[in-house]
């Protein structure tokens, strides 16, 4: 059996897309000082909303809108509880995850009378990119790519611009670094934080929709399967900046794709290959922390 590089790269983009979407959205919340470990649950409910929307309208674009609206609503709840009510952010994130895991199964049975999976539905289109598809060896990837994978790249560029080139981005960063100082300087801290968390919700909506109406054609119970947490790891490895998070997501995607291709072909146990990204996460975080500590005067 041969291991095809093109095939690995195609798998890499497929695995990286939901992680990148959730990660790039999620980093705004982190940057503004609001941690959201509820990305996983937000993605799960959005994936279901996208499937339900698509099933009943028979139009995946309406489904995508439903997924995005659902992501916004769940993150609005997170924002309200953590910014206005000031409940512990980690607790709310956990609650959202546990709630979503159960609520999604309940809603699944309400909409489809089935607690395991939705019926098959129409998918968002896969497109072919001119020029890129002509690169030798890359045609398999770029002649059949999800619109949401392309959108992830566009969102990365927008996020990079928004964070570093606009007043809003400056407010986000200052709110996260020192909320009191930012407030004194006239930054509307709460509004900035709300917007940041909502951006995360919107992107989680896209990430969830990618799973249920783009890569697959149905919702399956618990289908996010930890990708929301990997997105948080990608935010850490990407050092809270959009391009970095995208690169980290691609790295996770590559690790996943390699694991898939290597299974059964080499004598390394696949559990070992699967654990590499997480070992790396710990390493990167440790090194980052250590460097920051060394620089700080206290």
């Amino acid at each position: 059996m041969t291991i095809s590089i093109t095939s690995i790269l195609a798998r890499m983009f497929a695995s990286a897309t939901p992680i990148a979407l959730a990660g790039i959205g999620g980093l705004f919340g982190e940057r503004s000082g609001i941690s959201n470990i509820g990305l996983e649950g937000t993605m799960l409910l959005s994936a279901l909303a996208a499937a339900v929307g698509t099933h009943f309208s028979n139009d995946p674009w309406i489904g995508l809108t439903c997924g995005m609206v659902c992501g916004l609503l769940v993150s609005l709840l997170h924002a309200f509880l953590s910014i206005t009510v000031k409940v512990d952010q980690i607790v709310i994130g956990l609650v959202i995850n546990i709630f979503s895991a159960n609520a999604s199964v309940y809603l699944l049975s309400v909409f489809f009378r089935n607690k395991g999976a939705s019926p098959t539905i129409t998918k968002l289109p896969y497109v072919s990119i001119p020029f890129l598809r002509d690169i030798p060896g890359m045609s398999e990837i770029f002649s059949n790519i999800s619109v949401l994978t392309i959108l992830a790249v566009v969102i990365m560029l927008i996020a990079q611009f928004l964070l570093y080139q606009t007043r809003f981005g400056l407010h986000v960063i200052s709110a996260g670094q020192n909320a009191k100082a930012a407030f004194v300087m006239g930054v509307k801290v709460k509004r900035t934080q709300y917007l940041s968390v909502l951006i995360g919700g919107l992107c989680c909506g896209l990430a969830g929709s990618y799973l249920s109406i783009s890569y697959l054609n149905m919702f399956v119970k618990n289908m996010v399967s930890g990708r929301g947490f990997i997105a948080i790891a990608a935010i850490l490895i990407g050092r809270y900046n959009p391009v970095g998070v995208m690169l980290a997501s691609l790295f996770f995607g590559l690790a996943d794709a390699s694991q898939i291709a290597l299974q059964g072909t080499v004598s390394i146990p696949n559990e070992f290959v699967q654990s590499i990204p997480y070992v790396l996460t710990i390493l990167v975080v440790t090194v980052n922390e250590w460097r920051t500590r060394k620089l700080s005067p206290v």
Binding site: M1, T2, S4, S7, A10, R11, A14, S15, P18, Y106, S109, F112, R113, N114, K115, G116, A117, T120, L211, Y215, L216, N217, M218, V220, K221, N222, M223, S225, G226, D256, A257, I260, A261, Q263, G264, N270, E271, Q274
Partner: protein, 355 residues
């Protein structure tokens, strides 16, 4: 004021939730409930071998979820309906939306004088163990797990290696590349049993054939991660696989989607999965809970109710392939022939769980 409104809303929410959780009775088919109620409780489950009047026998089914799941619950319900039509027993099924409802529903059946109570999934074992000892006159059965230490309980497990062997035979016959894919949920004995049987089936037809076997994961997510299963399948297809089989629960739906996208055959598992992709699902390796229910009810009517452990295999029709339009006459003949050889013991399929 605000607080009161919030509390009121909360209470409404709780009430709605409680309402949603109440067990829903699916069907009560008997026209005259009063008459039958008198007839029941007199006869103990293990009554003497004399013929039992079928019309007086009541069978209750505790479902693990709701009907319409196109999975184990619909399958068990079909078995129950079969018993009603063909044996003339009275039947009733209860849908449970929550695990806490299993024991309660079973208890209610016992109180109402049901003779037979059926649990259709291993997840109900705890409920069975609570209820069964308290009602020694009622006969219980459970599917897909071994409970052989309670006198009035019959349990059924599947000889999945046998049906996987048949699936392997068919896969090897349909493959033009000689490369066949397998995706398991987690690398555990119950799934390796499928893989081993499948590989032996492929080798039986095509000694040169290769099975690429890959697994979704190592934790609970392994059964609910169709995206990873799809990637695994696409990789297998890229390596030449043109028929793929799965034993990966919800993840397996990703395999069927991948095969459909690439236009190669897939083989479903447990229930007939052809509705997911009618053009590419070759067949499904059935594990027939409905047959178990028939066997159980029949044994009661014959006066010797089953207890202890029964294996559902090719011999009692408890496992088997779905015959689809992709089957040629040759395929049908060969599958029938091999099934007969498995039953007679001429072909011995390895069961990795036999130690």
């Amino acid at each position: 004021m605000k607080k009161n409104v919030f509390l009121a809303l909360l209470m409404v929410a709780i009430l709605l939730f409680a309402y949603a959780c109440a067990p829903a009775t699916v069907e009560s088919t008997t026209p005259d409930d009063t008459q039958s109620a008198e007839a029941v409780s007199e006869e103990p489950a293990d009554a003497a071998a004399d013929e039992i009047a079928a019309a007086d026998v009541k069978v209750g089914l505790v479902l693990t979820g709701t009907l319409g799941d196109q999975s184990v619950n619909d399958q068990a319900y079909a078995g129950l309906m079969y018993c009603e039509e063909n044996y003339g027993v009275q039947v009733k099924a209860v849908e449970c939306t929550d695990a806490s409802m299993y024991a309660e529903a079973a208890q209610k059946f016992c109180e109402e004088g049901y003779n037979l109570v059926v649990f259709n999934a291993f997840s109900q074992e705890e409920a069975l163990r609570t209820v069964a000892p308290a009602y020694p006159d009622v006969a219980f059965m459970i599917l897909d797990t071994v409970v052989d230490d309670i006198a009035n309980v019959a349990c059924f497990t599947y000889a999945t290696q046998e049906v996987s062997f048949l699936a392997g035979v068919l896969a090897a016959r349909k493959s033009t590349t000689g490369v066949i894919g397998f995706i398991g949920g987690m690398e555990i004995p119950t799934i390796q049993k499928y893989q081993k049987g499948f590989e032996e089936g492929v080798a039986y037809v095509n000694a040169e054939g290769t099975v690429i076997a890959k697994y979704v994961g190592n934790d609970g997510n392994a059964w609910n991660d169709p995206a990873t299963a799809k990637s695994l399948t696409l990789d297998e297809i890229a390596n030449g696989a043109d028929v793929c089989f799965h034993a990966a629960g919800g993840s397996g739906l990703g395999l069927i989607e991948a095969c459909n996208e690439k236009g190669v055959y897939s083989i479903g598992v447990n229930i007939d999965q052809s509705h997911l992709a009618p053009d590419t699902v070759l067949t499904s390796a059935l594990t027939r809970g409905d047959v178990a229910i028939q066997i159980f009810v029949k044994s009661y009517l014959d006066g010797a109710v089953l207890t202890g452990h029964t294996t559902l295999n090719c011999a009692n029709d408890g496992v088997g392939l779905v015959e689809s339009s992709f089957f040629t006459d040759d395929d049908k003949a060969i599958i029938a022939d091999i099934t007969a050889k498995i039953i007679s013991g001429e072909i011995k399929v390895t069961n990795v769980m036999d130690y």
